[in-house]
Every structure is written in structure tokens, then in C-alpha cells.
Subunit: 546 residues, 2 copies
């Protein structure tokens, strides 16, 4: 398995060199013209070269070190009983499965050979640090700065760096997130770097169309700063057809389509899974979902111009973003060609969100909108489209955003055994009242949202005041949904008398879609190691003042 990772690592490091003195615009060009990964062809030359030690300095120069350096200072001062001492050269020679995989954090050295395959972010990400310091990556993926991650790492400690070595991994320190846009203060931030945030529930269902500033934001990397004048979308043509290189003006010439579409992160409501058992992922509550009116060109029109026709062949349309990690690897994902070419599926290359150019956090200047499909496929800052016989080889397509049985853990997971999440299951949640709130006796007004994947309409929302013993039917608000194209949510509410003498209410909601799919009763049987697809009945406990 690890052998398969060599070539991407090499490609990544080569790109890192190219990045040394590039502007972010240059980075865009690198990503958008880069060949897709071919991990099935490992490079025989990797182990012998000295790319890695030089690579780290380059990458370090591009990355900030943040809080990780504080940890470094602290650990270096702590005494240890004659730890084994290694030079940086020794560490850098351990960067492959054959030699063992070592990394450093501050002055400490770790042998993570056994851990690589279990790295929650995927082995390829950890391999980027093989033979060198973790700091540049922990700076990028700041959620590593947590006690349980450090504890886990401590198990693999084998010694310390030679104190005579300069353990500062970089000379030039910059913050890759320094150019991120400013955000609305109402957003509840789950992670600053990369930026991930959700609107508070009361604001979420105040409007059928979510205002742009509070639309939930799910970034995997720093936000690229793209120049609309020089922006180009590269579309690899069908055999016998020319590839397209489309400017924004070129995209505007395609017929403009507008649709209301709800986007939901696969991790929406993950925090409820965490209560069952720890999972890896951001602690989304009920707000990793929002609805906007998107406008743009139909992907089917653009693909037709590039020479693609609907055929029986099961191909995939791969998207690459212009948001790059330190190696120049772009965010990527794919959808089936059949969906992309089906005009009824209404897949958009969107350049407007609620009548405005896309905000930077939402993919300026162009993103994919795949109605009825998990947010992870709506690739932002779109740079490249290609049609391939296989799904995208991106980490986010192959090693993430998949659902597993509750019995599967990081030791047993086989990512190839589950399909990538595309259409999402039926979902609903209560946004008012809030969990733990105290209400007056009399009537209680309960509000929330409901949505299902694949264009399936919401036909009913049942609400219970007694934990699911008896049910009332909520009133559906917002726009009517179109048959087979119910891309946007229904908001709902129920006004119900509080049963006399009741001091507490266990309010529960569940939705039904037009395939009569329902939500599962409880969270535990749907628990999975990544905490995705959390769609059990949603409940809030409230108190009634006498």
C-alpha cells in the first residue's frame, strides 16, 4: 500500500520546488495544468535522491508554524533520561517504507512507520512529512495541535535531535491563511485554519435562502486569491476534440441557468456521533447546511462543447480546485459522467450566488454545483475538468467522505470497500427551540429544516414532544419542490400546546422523502469512524417554566 504513494509524493515535492518564489496566481497555473495522479506507477528513483531535505525548507518557507512552536520550546527544555540522539541527516534518510518513516516535532524524533496507514487524513498526507519536521503541516492543518494528537505521537518517540542542529525548520515564516477573507462574526467557527464555520441554528432557518455572509463554510485549504481577468478553466476534451481553456467571459456565453440548491457537508451533525464515540472530524452541529440561488453555465453544455456525449460507459468527471496544499496538490473530487451530462440533473458551473459573484469563501470565481449531492463534490475555485475512466484519485474522493459500519475502526478500515458519498440520505433537524432552553407554558413553536439527496422531495416532517411516542405533522414552508428536482430544502414549523403539567419536553423530528425513505431512530447504529452521514432523528430537550 505504501509503495503506491511514492509517485504522488515525488510529484508533490517537485511542485514544492516550483513554488519557491511563485505568486498564488502562478500556483493556480501549476494546479490547473498538472496531470492527475498515477499512483499505480511508483518511481524507482525516489529513495536515492535528496529532494526531501531540500523540500522541507522550501515548504517551511511557505508555511507558518503557529502554536506548534510553543510546544517545541516546551519539550526541548524538558529533561529525558539519555534519549537517543539523531542528526537531521539521519532523520531525513528515513522517508520510505524500506528505511522506516521518521518525522520530527520540535527536538523530538518519531518513527511513524506503523502509523502511516492509519493516519486519519490519509497516508499520503503524512508521507509528505516523511524524513522531516511536522510543523509546516501542523501549521496548515491546525487541528493537530490538540493533546490527544500529541499523546498519540508520543507513543512513537524514538529519540531527540542533536541539539547542535538548528531545529527551526524554516528561516522564512509566513501564514498560508493570511490572505483568507474576513468572515461574518455570527458564524460559529469549528476551525480557523482551514476555515470551517456554520451559522447558528436560529439564523439558519430564518430565511429560505441563506444570506451569503452566513452560508456555512467548509474549506480544506487556504482560500486562493484569484484574479478574474486571468482566471482560466481548463476542460480536457473528448478524444478527437480540442481541450477548452475558458475565461469567465467564455463561461458567461453559455446559457445561464439559475436554481435553488441546498448544500450539506457530509459531516453535518457530526457532534452527535462524537457523543457516542470519538470520531475524526470537525465538530459540526446542525448548521453545516445552507441554501442559495446559484447561477451559471450547465456542465452538460460545457462538456458537450468539449465533445462529450451520453454513452453507457461508466466514466467520471473529475474536478480540481485551485486551492493547493504545500505540494501543489489541489482539492479534487468527481461525479459520474451520467449525472454530469444529464440536463435533468442540472449540474452547474456557478459564478453567482444569490445574485452576487461568488464570495471568495464559496469558490470565487467559479465552483461546481451538483444538486442533490454531498457538498464535497461541489468543488470550489474550479481550475480543471477532465473525464476519466475512474473516479478522482483525490484523497477526498478515495480515502475520505465514505460511510462504514459502526464496527469498522482505523485499524480495520478498507476505504476501497465503500463507495464515495454522492447523493445524501434524508435529513432534518430542529433549529428552534435550542437544546436546554426554558420556554413558557402554553404553546411551543418548533422550527427546523428537512432535505433529501438525489432530488427527492420532502413529503412530511413528523414532530414528537414526548421523545417519539406520539407524533404530529409539521407545516412545510418555503418554496414548493419540483418532482425529481427537489434540490432545495423545506423549512418547517409546528405550533403545539405544551401538555399540561409537563416540566420537560423531549422534542424530536424526523422527515420522510418521496421515496418514503426515513431517518433512523438513533445515532449509535449509524456511527462511523469519520462521523459522516449523521441523520438520525434530531432531538432537543427543553424545560417548561411553571
Amino acid at each position: 500500500m505504501l509503495l503506491l504513494l511514492h509517485r504522488p509524493v515525488i510529484l508533490g515535492l517537485r511542485q514544492a520546488f516550483r513554488l519557491r518564489s511563485t505568486s498564488s496566481r502562478l500556483c493556480i497555473q501549476t494546479c490547473s495544468t498538472n496531470d492527475s495522479f498515477q499512483p499505480q506507477h511508483p518511481s524507482p528513483n525516489f529513495c536515492g535522491d535528496n529532494y526531501s531535505t531540500r523540500g522541507w525548507k522550501v515548504m517551511g518557507a511557505l508555511l507558518g508554524l503557529g502554536a506548534a512552536l510553543a510546544y517545541h520550546d516546551h519539550q526541548c527544555r524538558a529533561s529525558q533520561d539519555s534519549p537517543h540522539v539523531y542528526t537531521k541527516e539521519e532523520v531525513s534518510s528515513h522517508s520510505s517504507p524500506e528505511t522506516g518513516i521518521w518525522v520530527t516535532l520540535g527536538c523530538e524524533v518519531f518513527d511513524v512507520t506503523e502509523f502511516v496507514d492509519r493516519h486519519p487524513g490519509g497516508p499520503s498526507k503524512l508521507m509528505l512529512a516523511a524524513g522531516g519536521p511536522l510543523e509546516p503541516f501542523w501549521s496548515l492543518y491546525a487541528f493537530h495541535n490538540q493533546p490527544h494528537v500529541r499523546e498519540l505521537l508520543a507513543e512513537y518517540k524514538i529519540g531527540e535531535l542533536n541539539p547542535e542542529d538548528d531545529v527551526s525548520p524554516t528561516l522564512e515564516i509566513s501564514d498560508p491563511y493570511a490572505n483568507d477573507p474576513k468572515r461574518h462574526p455570527a458564524l460559529k467557527v469549528n476551525s480557523q485554519r482551514p476555515f470551517n464555520a456554520e451559522p447558528p441554528p436560529e439564523l439558519l432557518t430564518e430565511n429560505y435562502i441563506t444570506p451569503n455572509p452566513i452560508f456555512f463554510t467548509r474549506n480544506h485549504l487556504p482560500v486562493p486569491n484569484l484574479d478574474p481577468d486571468t482566471y482560466r478553466l481548463h476542460v480536457v476534451g473528448a478524444p478527437g476534440h480540442q481541450s477548452l481553456c475558458l475565461s469567465l467571459d467564455d463561461l458567461y456565453k453559455f446559457p445561464k441557468h439559475e436554481i435553488n440548491v441546498t448544500l450539506q457537508c457530509a459531516g453535518n451533525r457530526r457532534s452527535e456521533m462524537t457523543q457516542i464515540k470519538e470520531v475524526k472530524g470537525l465538530e459540526w452541529k446542525t448548521g453545516a447546511i445552507s441554501t442559495a440561488r446559484w447561477a451559471g453555465a450547465r456542465l452538460s453544455d460545457v462538456l458537450a462543447q468539449a465533445g462529450y456525449q451520453l454513452s453507457d460507459t461508466e466514466f467520471h468527471v473529475c474536478f480540481e480546485g485551485l486551492d493547493c496544499d504545500p505540494t501543489g496538490t489541489a482539492y479534487g473530487a468527481s461525479i459520474p459522467l451520467a449525472r454530469a451530462l444529464n440536463p435533468e440533473a442540472e449540474v452547474l458551473l456557478a459564478y453567482e450566488m444569490n445574485g452576487q459573484p461568488l464570495p471568495r469563501d464559496h469558490g470565487f470565481p467559479v465552483r461546481v454545483i451538483v444538486p442533490g449531492v454531498v457538498g464535497a463534490r461541489h468543488v470550489k475555485w474550479l481550475g480543471r475538468i477532465s473525464v476519466e475512466p475512474e473516479e478522482s484519485h483525490s484523497h477526498w474522493q478515495r480515502r475520505d467522505y465514505k460511510g462504514f459500519s459502526p464496527s469498522v475502526d482505523w485499524d480495520t478500515v478498507d476505504f476501497d470497500s465503500a463507495p464515495s458519498i454522492q447523493e445524501l440520505p434524508v435529513q432534518s433537524a430542529i433549529t428552534e427551540p435550542r437544546d436546554g432552553e426554558t420556554i413558557e407554558s402554553g404553546d411551543v413553536t418548533i422550527k427546523g429544516y428537512a432535505w433529501s439527496g438525489g432530488g427527492r422531495a420532502i413529503i412530511r416532517v413528523d414532530v414528537s414532544l414526548d421523545g417519539g411516542l406520539t407524533w404530529q405533522t409539521a407545516e412545510l414552508d418555503g418554496e414548493e419542490q419540483r418532482p425529481r428536482k427537489a434540490w432545495a430544502w423545506r423549512l418547517w414549523q409546528l405550533q403545539a400546546p405544551v401538555p399540561a403539567g409537563q416540566k420537560e419536553l423531549n422534542i424530536v423530528c424526523k422527515a420522510v422523502d418521496d421515496s418514503y425513505n426515513v431517518q433512523p431512530d438513533t445515532v449509535a447504529p449509524t456511527w462511523n469512524l469519520r462521523g459522516v452521514l449523521s441523520n438520525a432523528w434530531h432531538s432537543v430537550h427543553i424545560h417548561v417554566s411553571p
Copy 2:
């Protein structure tokens, strides 16, 4: 609401006259050329004519009386304290909402005016008996011969018939089910008239393709006896196009398509809902589902020949069977035109089942196969196809085969408030071991099936030996499923060691489809008054011999 029923009743009675001396083949012609219902135009002449009394004799002549006559004899001998006595003429004058709606059973007279709207089979069915005897209908729908139905009827008793009147409703008695085909003795019969039966679970999953003789049978009416030489399928043409009148040979000339498709009755596993609270419907266990290889012409090809093209308009394709009730009303159902015209949806007009001409119980000579959709839309003995701006007005489309909240009962149900069931939700069940079985300690082999509607593939089946606390993943057998066209089930099995010391096992299964929809944990929150869509986790309790 009742006013809306007049015209169908008249149409029905008129047809009953035509039936007086017809063969079943003539009945076919009547059904297949009959206009569809227009219940929005009540006839002002209904109340004044005398169709009804004459009609009963005709219908009685066509129908057997079965067990209902025994009840009649018994009740007439029972003494009553001077009951009010009515003549048959008086009864027959009460056949509309204006006059009140009376019916008789044996010598007893009932005023069912208030009950008509709550009749589980639909008001129109009960209105067929307005002003006359129930026997001809109870003979056709034999499940009425149950104590709780008689008790319910007794509440509406207003008197008795004049003993001088001849209470035998017919002179000629025949059994409309006398020509039904012979069935395989392995089938577990839920109802003889109409015939409804399922294979035992062990046989069900013995083969990926269910053998024809044990394929579950769901009939609503007697099985028509159709002559393949004179059989004609009437296809109403698009505006500006000729209607088609297709013989079997004409159908054979369309390209022949073959696909494996699982059919499931909406009422599969209803018996589990009955355990929560009484529902109206046949007591299906886990066997109202089977899989066959169907061959026939594509509906999209036939509709194209009749001049239909894919458009945005939300029309419906209405099907009428050649199975008629006493009034000549055919079984009917509809599907959206978008599905019918989509070649990817692969809707068939099937004339072969597992390489044989369709068996009579399964629609000989032609039935509709709508992959991924509830069995009720796969109209058998297909006589007529029309494209309409609205769904079929059939009882089975509008007043049945819909799902409601557990809080809805027969007093509060609004059938228009829920969509007709089309695609079904994800489903799975255990077929081995059987509930209550005793197994040896050591290993237990658990088998079952899993399927989802809409062409969604089964990606995983989880099995628990401890009622859902811990899970193991079953092995999927049978053919691989195609993306988006997973029309046929997956069989599955799990061999697992029985935990040491365990005396009982609570085995549970749940399936996940490729939209990551899951089955609900428990039955009660999905309970509905018709007992359809029963897809909670399936469980069997077994004993382990020491």
C-alpha cells in the same frame, strides 16, 4: 366528497349490464376501450333511474356468494324484538347521499351513510352496493367475512327485510375465482379470493432468480383468462398521432429487452406493523418480494411510436389491467411520464418471465415492469395505456398505496395529502434462521435479502447477534448491481460464531443503499393505517441448544 362518486358508479353499473351474457374475453374489450373516470362531473340523472336494483341481479349472477350465505341463514333465524321491516324496494331507493345509503346482508338492513367515507377499500367500492345486497361483493372480496367486519356493520343496523321478499340476491350463482389458475403448494396463502400468497422465507433466498411457481402473487381481482390470439393492447396516441392497437405479434416486433428486476409489494412485512396496532391489509410476512428476469418491449419505444416525446410537462402514464370488478372497473395505476420515456429507467411491457410466457397469475400475456418502483404500478394483464395530465384516478393510485404518519387514522386520513408510493425505501430481511428456531452452538449461518428502490444499489448489510449493540458486515451474493440501475436485490449471508454461553440470540439486519439511506431502527414510528412501507430493522429471536 360523495358527490364525486356518482359518475363512476353509473359507468360501473352500465358496464355491469353489458356484462350480462359476456365471456371474459368480451369483458376485456369493455375494459380496454372504456374512458377513464371523470369523477369531477357528477351525473344529474343518477338518483332518479332504476339501474341499481336491476344491476344487483346481473352482478349477483356473475358472482358467487361463498361463506356470506351461511351468515345470512344464521342471522335470519335469530329472533329480534320487533325490528323495523323494509321492502327491497325501500332499500333500493336509498342509494345516494341525498336519500341515505342502505345495504343488506342476508335479511338485515343497514344504513351506512356515515360509514361510506371511512370504508377502507374506498367509498366508491362500498357505493357499488348502495341500495342492495353486500353478498356479491363480499364474495369477491372474501376478507370481509370476518367477525370484526360483521361487528362493525352491526352498529349500522336499522331493521330487516320483509320476510315475504326473496332475500336470495341471485338465481344464478357462479364463482368469479373459479377460473383462477392452480398454484404451487409451497406458497403461503394470505388470501384465496383474490389470490395473494408468498413463498416461505427459506425458499425465497435459495435462488437469486425466484422460480415462477413460487414468485409471490398479489392479485386484487379474479385472474382474467385471456386469449393470446385476440389480445390487444390499446395505446392512446399523442395529440395529432394515431392510437395504437397492438397484438402480441406487434409487441414482439419492438426491440426485446431483458432485465432482472425485483418486485416488492408495498405491504411486504405488514405483519410486523400489525403487532404494533391493527392495520387494514393482508398479513404479508417477509415474502412479498421476488426477483425475475423479465423480457419485453421498452415502454419508451412503444410511447415513441405513439408520438410521445420527452418534455418538461409533468404528465403521467396511466395503465389499466384487464382484471375487472363486477362493474367492469379495471385495476389501474400510473407512473410519471418522465420515468416512462426515460430509456435509462428501462420500463418494460413484459411478455416473458424467466424465459417463459408470463404465467397467468403474473399478468399473461403482458404486464408492466417498472424497475425500482412498488409492485402496485407493475399493472398485470395490461389492456390500456394512456398519457394524462394527472395520475390515474384508480382507487389503487389515489386512495391506497400511500404512506401516512402514525398519528393518522381512518377518521383523519386525507388521501390527497400524501403522494402515491412510487420508488420504495431501502429494505432487508432475514430468511434464515427462522424466528423461534433452535440452533446448535458453534457457528450460525444467517441469510437474507436486501434491496432498495429507484435503482439504488445495496452497498452494505449489517448483521447483529445482540439486538443491535454490535454489528458484523454480511457478504453480498448474487449478481453485481449496475450503478443507478440496481433493479434486482442482493442476497446476503453471514457465518458467525455463536458467542460462548449464549442461550438466545436476537439477530437483526439492516441494509444501506448507495445514497446511504438506512432502515429505521423500530417499527412503531413508521406505523401507518394501511401497514405499507414496513422496512424497520428485521429481527429473529433464536435459541441455542446447549
